[in-house]
C-alpha cells in the first residue's frame, strides 16, 4: 500500500464507518440468532489489499475504536485484530492469491480467527460465569454470515482503496491469464 495521507484518511474513514455501522446496526440485526461482524471484515479486507504492516496497524486502530465505542476492556480487541490483520496480510504476501472468490475464504477465515481468539482472550481476562454451548452456535453463525457478505464488502473496500494500492491482487490475476486464442489462425494473439 502506498503510505500517503489520502490512504490514512481512507482507511480511517472506513474503520469509523465500520465501527458505527457495527454497534448501531449490525449488532442489533439478528439473522437466525446471529449477527454479522463488519469490523473484522473491514480489517481483513484492508489487510488483504494492503499487506501485513498495514494489516496490523489497521487491526490495532479498529480494535481501539471498537473498545472505545462499546466500553469494553481496552486493548483486548486491538490485540486480537492486530493478529488477524497481520495474518491476512501475510497470507496475501506469501501465497499471493488472486482467485475471484478468495474474499469469501479470507473473510470467513479471518472471522473464525477473530471469534475464537477473542473468546480465548476473554476467558483469560475475566469471565467468571458459566459459558453456554450456544456461544459456539453464535460463533459459527457469525463466521457463515461474514463469509456470505464478504464478497460485496471486499469489493467495496477495494474500490475505496484502489488509488492507494501499490498492487491490486485482482488486477494481477487478470494479467496472469493467457491470451485468448480466437479468430483466424494467422491473427492468434493479436487480440483483434
Amino acid at each position: 500500500m502506498i503510505l500517503a495521507p489520502s490512504a490514512f484518511i481512507r482507511v480511517g474513514f472506513l474503520l469509523l464507518l465500520a465501527v458505527i455501522l457495527q454497534v448501531s446496526g449490525a449488532s442489533e440485526t439478528a439473522v437466525f440468532g446471529g449477527h454479522a461482524d463488519l469490523v473484522v471484515l473491514t480489517v481483513a479486507a484492508v489487510s488483504y489489499y494492503g499487506g501485513s504492516i498495514t494489516g496490523c496497524a489497521t487491526g490495532f486502530a479498529a480494535g481501539l475504536l471498537l473498545d472505545l465505542a462499546t466500553g469494553a476492556t481496552m486493548g483486548a480487541s486491538s490485540l486480537v485484530l492486530t493478529a488477524v490483520g497481520y495474518g491476512v496480510g501475510r497470507l496475501r504476501e506469501v501465497r499471493d492469491p488472486s482467485h475471484g472468490l478468495m474474499p469469501v475464504v479470507v473473510g470467513g477465515g479471518a472471522t473464525a480467527g477473530w471469534v475464537v481468539t477473542f473468546a480465548a482472550v476473554s476467558f483469560m481476562l475475566d469471565v467468571g460465569a458459566r459459558v453456554s454451548p450456544l456461544v459456539i452456535r453464535d460463533m459459527v453463525l457469525t463466521v457463515l454470515l461474514n463469509a456470505l457478505i464478504s464478497l460485496p464488502v471486499f469489493m467495496l473496500i477495494r474500490r475505496l482503496l484502489r488509488p492507494s494500492l501499490a498492487v491490486d491482487p485482482q488486477e494481477l490475476g487478470r494479467r496472469r491469464r493467457p491470451p485468448r486464442e480466437t479468430g483466424p489462425l494467422g491473427l492468434r494473439g493479436l487480440e483483434i
Binding site: S24, I53, C56, T70, G71, M74, A83, Y86, S122
Partner: protein, 298 residues
C-alpha cells in the same frame, strides 16, 4: 529471497502493535474507574453518541425488516404459547386485584413507606438504545440518556417485561448498561411466593436462559414461579436493585442439579437480545418520595 529490511520492518510493526495492545490492557486493568484510560473512553463515547444515535435511527428500518422476517417464522409458535399465557394471566389478574385491595388496606396499618421499594422509591427515565456491543463476552448496550437526565452508575434498568441490567458508565448524554447476560453480572433475587433467595447469573451466549444459584437450599422451588429482585438492606450494605423488579420465570428445575449445585434455570421476562427502549430507575429525591407516600404535592 526476501529483503531483510522489509522482514525487519514487518516484524517490528507487529511487535509494536502487540506491545501497545498489551500495555493498554495492563493499564486499563490496573487503573480505577476514574483513571486516564477510563476517562478517555468516556470522552470518546460522548463524542460517538450523536453519530451512533443518528445511525441507529437511520438503520432502524433495515433492522425492522430483518426482525419482521424472523418474527414471521416465530409467530406461529408464539401464538399458541401466548393463548395459554393469556388464560393464565386472566386468573392471575383476578387474584392480583383482590390482593391489591388487601394490600392497600394493609399498607395503612404497616408503615411500608419506610423502605424505598419499587416503584415508589424510583423515578423511571425512558431511553433509547443507540449502540450494542458486538460480542457475547461483553453484553452491554449504550442508551441516549446520561447524567444530565439524572442517571447515575449502578441504577437498575428495565425493559418491556422486567429487569435487563444496570448502569455501569455515564457521560453527560449517554450511559452504558451492563446486561444481565454479561459474564460479570450477578443480581440477588427471590423466588415468589416461596421466598427462596439466591443470585441470578448469566450463561454466557444464551440470553434466554439465566441461572439462579440458590442460597437457601431448604426452600422448595417449583417450575413457573416468578423471580424478582430481592433488594436486601443491611446496616452496612444495600442491594443496588430495589425489591420487587420482575426478572424472569423458573423454567427448569432439575432435581439432580438442584441437589448438587443448588441451581435452577430461569427465562428472563425481557427479551435481552432485542429491545429498543428501556427505563432507568433513577432515585426520587427524598422530599418527593415522602410526598408520594403521604399523597401530597412536593
Amino acid at each position: 529471497m526476501f529483503d531483510k529490511k522489509v522482514v525487519r520492518r514487518r516484524r517490528a510493526a507487529l511487535a509494536i502493535f502487540v506491545a501497545l495492545s498489551i500495555a493498554l490492557l495492563t493499564a486499563y486493568f490496573g487503573e480505577s474507574g476514574g483513571g486516564l484510560l477510563h476517562a478517555f473512553q468516556r470522552g470518546a463515547q460522548e463524542a460517538f453518541a450523536p453519530v451512533e444515535s443518528g445511525a441507529s435511527r437511520a438503520l432502524k428500518p433495515a433492522r425492522d425488516l430483518f426482525g419482521w422476517v424472523g418474527d414471521t417464522f416465530d409467530a406461529k409458535g408464539d401464538n399458541k404459547a401466548l393463548k395459554a399465557e393469556v388464560e393464565r394471566l386472566r386468573s392471575d389478574l383476578a387474584r392480583a386485584e383482590t390482593g391489591q385491595r388487601d394490600a392497600s388496606q394493609l399498607r395503612q396499618l404497616v408503615d411500608l413507606g419506610r423502605g424505598d421499594g419499587f416503584p415508589e422509591g424510583t423515578r423511571p427515565v425512558a431511553a433509547r438504545v443507540i449502540a450494542r456491543a458486538p460480542t457475547v463476552w461483553y453484553s452491554s448496550v449504550k442508551i441516549d440518556k446520561g447524567s444530565g437526565d439524572g442517571i447515575r452508575v449502578d441504577q437498575p434498568v428495565i425493559a418491556a417485561g422486567g429487569l435487563v441490567g444496570k448502569i455501569t458508565g455515564v457521560t453527560g448524554g449517554t450511559a452504558e448498561v451492563r446486561l444481565l447476560t454479561d459474564a460479570s453480572s450477578a443480581v440477588t433475587a427471590q423466588v415468589m411466593p416461596a421466598g427462596a433467595s439466591g443470585v441470578v447469573r448469566p450463561q454466557v451466549g444464551d440470553p434466554g436462559d439465566l441461572l439462579l444459584d440458590l442460597i437457601e437450599g431448604d426452600r422448595r422451588v417449583t417450575k413457573d414461579t416468578t423471580v424478582v429482585t430481592s433488594g436486601f438492606t443491611s446496616s452496612k450494605i444495600e442491594s443496588l436493585f430495589p425489591r420487587g423488579i420482575p426478572i424472569g420465570r423458573v423454567t427448569k428445575v432439575d432435581l439432580d442439579e438442584l441437589e448438587q449445585y443448588q441451581r435452577v434455570h430461569i427465562t428472563p421476562f425481557a427479551d435481552l437480545r432485542r429491545f429498543d427502549i428501556v427505563q432507568v430507575l433513577t432515585r426520587r429525591p427524598a422530599g418527593e418520595q415522602a410526598a408520594a407516600l403521604t399523597g401530597t404535592t412536593p
